[in-house]
């Protein structure tokens, strides 16, 4: 009994220091100048455009990585094509990539001084230090999330119900829409939420490839960083609180999907 209480106390203290006190302080700080002060900070044009850009990048990332992630997971879980183990390893690589490295890596391929980057720029597509580069970076860091969530789930579910659908005359495509997709919907939801969280929160990689132009390529997290560096803690705090509120919704969604679909983190 004593041991258990000591353990619980230890866990609580760690929790308090690591998560609880910081979270409470932040909300308190954001509201310290009253709600009007909070809104004044959030409604500044730079802050608004930063938030808008963050959400745009997140939406585009989700739109691209969700379907591609599902396809990749299906390929890894259900097909053994030559070299799939290599694909499997490559999918995991972004996990090991520090965000700054991810940014640098993309810069080295698509930057204005490279062959591909120059070619694209001559054709009017500016990749780096612009929206495409920021989306590309976010795609890179979030790609494993969907795949790693769905592969074990697909393996665990097996393929019997899909086979049943085939014998009933359903084409592969219809089987996917009517049987496979509904079965993985909670896992998919969970990984989508993880992707949103990561995309909204991505900082290091975007910092490297964005150029951080206020009002143009400044995302919400870059705005927070800039404001903190400029010691404008109130501005940083306000935008952070908006992000944290989104996180709160994300957190709740995570619990919902996890509870229903037995989701797990990578």
């Amino acid at each position: 009994m004593k041991l258990r209480m000591a353990l619980s106390a230890g866990v609580y203290v760690w929790f308090l220091v690591l998560i609880f006190i910081p979270a409470v302080t932040m909300v308190e700080g954001a509201l310290s100048h009253g709600l009007s002060g909070f809104f004044a900070q959030v409604l500044r044009p730079e802050a608004l455009s930063a938030l808008r850009l963050s959400f745009l990048i997140t939406a585009l990332t989700l739109l691209i990585n969700l379907p591609l992630g599902v396809i990749t997971a299906l390929l890894i879980a259900r097909r053994s094509f030559p070299g799939w183990q290599v694909v499997n390893a490559v999918v995991d690589l972004p996990f090991a990539l520090s965000p700054v490295i991810a940014g640098l890596a993309l810069l080295l391929v698509y930057g204005p001084n490279t062959l591909l980057g120059a070619f694209l720029q001559n054709h009017g597509v500016k990749v780096m230090f612009a929206l495409p580069g920021m989306v590309l970076t976010t795609l890179l860091v979030t790609f494993p999330l969907v795949v790693r969530e769905l592969v074990p789930l697909l393996r665990q579910l097996g393929i019997r119900q899909e086979e049943a659908a085939w014998t009933l005359g359903a084409s592969a495509w219809r089987t996917f829409w009517l049987v496979t997709l509904p079965r993985i919907r909670f896992g998919l939801g969970y990984s989508a939420v993880l992707t949103i969280a990561r995309a909204l929160g991505e900082f290091g990689a975007v910092l490297v490839v964005s150029g951080n132009l206020v009002g143009v390529t400044q995302t919400a997290t870059l705005y927070v960083y800039q404001a903190t560096e400029n010691n404008d803690l109130q501005a940083a705090d306000a935008v952070s609180t908006v992000l944290a509120m989104v996180s709160f919704v994300i957190l709740i969604l995570m619990q919902v999907f996890k509870g229903r679909g037995e989701g797990r983190i990578s």
């Binding site: 006190i21 932040m26 396809i71 694909v87 940014g103 929160g201 997290t221 996180s247």
Partner: protein, 290 residues
């Protein structure tokens, strides 16, 4: 499992996925490696040998290791208490564990700064007692620990769930001490999860930028970790040096991720088996002498 019906047009899709991964992951990572060795192997090591760079890499390694170890211990305890339903308020705790996954890492760093910087109440009180939780090496560990805590808990949790309570109870009724129960009943099962969690925490801690850059203070040679140093190099357009540091950091992270794939369970068996056999022999000898 290998029917051609499994995926609509799978050949076509495999091509799309491979192309996507090539453009998104393989080429960029390859470009970094190429850039790092553009000055030959000598150039690579020269870039690493700068005292600030080497210091940053070293600092990254040990702070990530410390954060990983602390998290492995606390994470295992938390997972155990939650799964065994001992922790009062475990619903809330369980949900909050995922918080670092949900909040942007920058926001996480800012949270720590707002809570513990010397200018605040708690931070001020701590600073008066010579404890600096941010803008210090402790701050780096704290930021890394914050970001990686979910991994430490979530890798152990399913293993605790799979463990039958009656095993522990049986051991206790047989008169085993708490420590013995932990060591002989819990540890052999939890070990692989703890190692996986440890290595994930280490890799992610090593890679972490957003939270650390805000909470550490970034003093070169004192509190500047490798990713921050890397960013500084990039700001100054020292691409080759940055690539060299990147490759080293990436290699360390990959190493961290690969360790649990080497079947720690089997390693564990190999490590423990000889000992088990020796004990057995001793017993036999004991019996013979009687």
């Amino acid at each position: 499992m290998t029917t051609n019906l499994a995926i609509p047009g799978w050949r076509w899709m495999a091509g799309v996925v491979c192309g996507y991964l090539l453009l998104l992951v393989v080429c960029p990572v390859g470009a970094i490696v190429r850039q790092a060795f553009s000055g030959g192997v000598g150039g690579f090591f020269h870039a690493l040998a700068s005292p600030i760079g080497a210091g940053a890499l070293l600092l990254s390694c040990w702070t990530a290791a410390v954060a990983a170890v602390i998290n492995a211990v606390m994470g295992t305890c938390t997972a155990y208490l939650i799964a065994r339903k001992h922790l009062p308020g475990r619903r809330v705790v369980s949900a909050l564990i995922d918080l670092p996954l949900a909040v942007p890492t920058t926001v996480g760093g800012l949270m720590l700064v707002l809570a513990y910087s010397p200018a605040t109440r708690i931070g001020g009180w701590l600073a008066a007692h010579h404890v600096n939780l941010v803008y210090s090496r402790t701050g780096i560990v704290l930021a890394m620990a914050f970001v990686t805590f979910p991994f430490a808990v979530r890798t152990v949790e399913p293993l605790v769930d799979s463990l039958d309570v009656s095993l522990e109870e049986a051991a206790l009724t047989l008169g085993a001490s708490r420590l013995r129960v932990f060591w002989q009943v819990l540890w052999p099962t939890l070990w692989p999860g703890v190692v996986t969690g440890l290595s994930l925490c280490f890799s992610r801690g090593l890679a972490e930028f957003g939270a650390v850059v805000l909470a550490s203070g970034n003093l070169p040679l004192r509190t500047e970790v490798a990713p921050v140093y890397l960013y500084g190099l990039l700001e100054n357009n020292e691409t080759s040096g940055a690539a060299a540091v990147s490759v080293t950091l990436l290699a360390l992270s990959v190493l961290g991720l690969v360790v649990p794939l080497c079947r720690p369970r089997q390693w564990w068996k190999r490590l423990t088996e000889p000992r088990g056999r020796r004990v057995h022999n001793n017993e036999q000898v004991g019996e013979a002498s009687v």
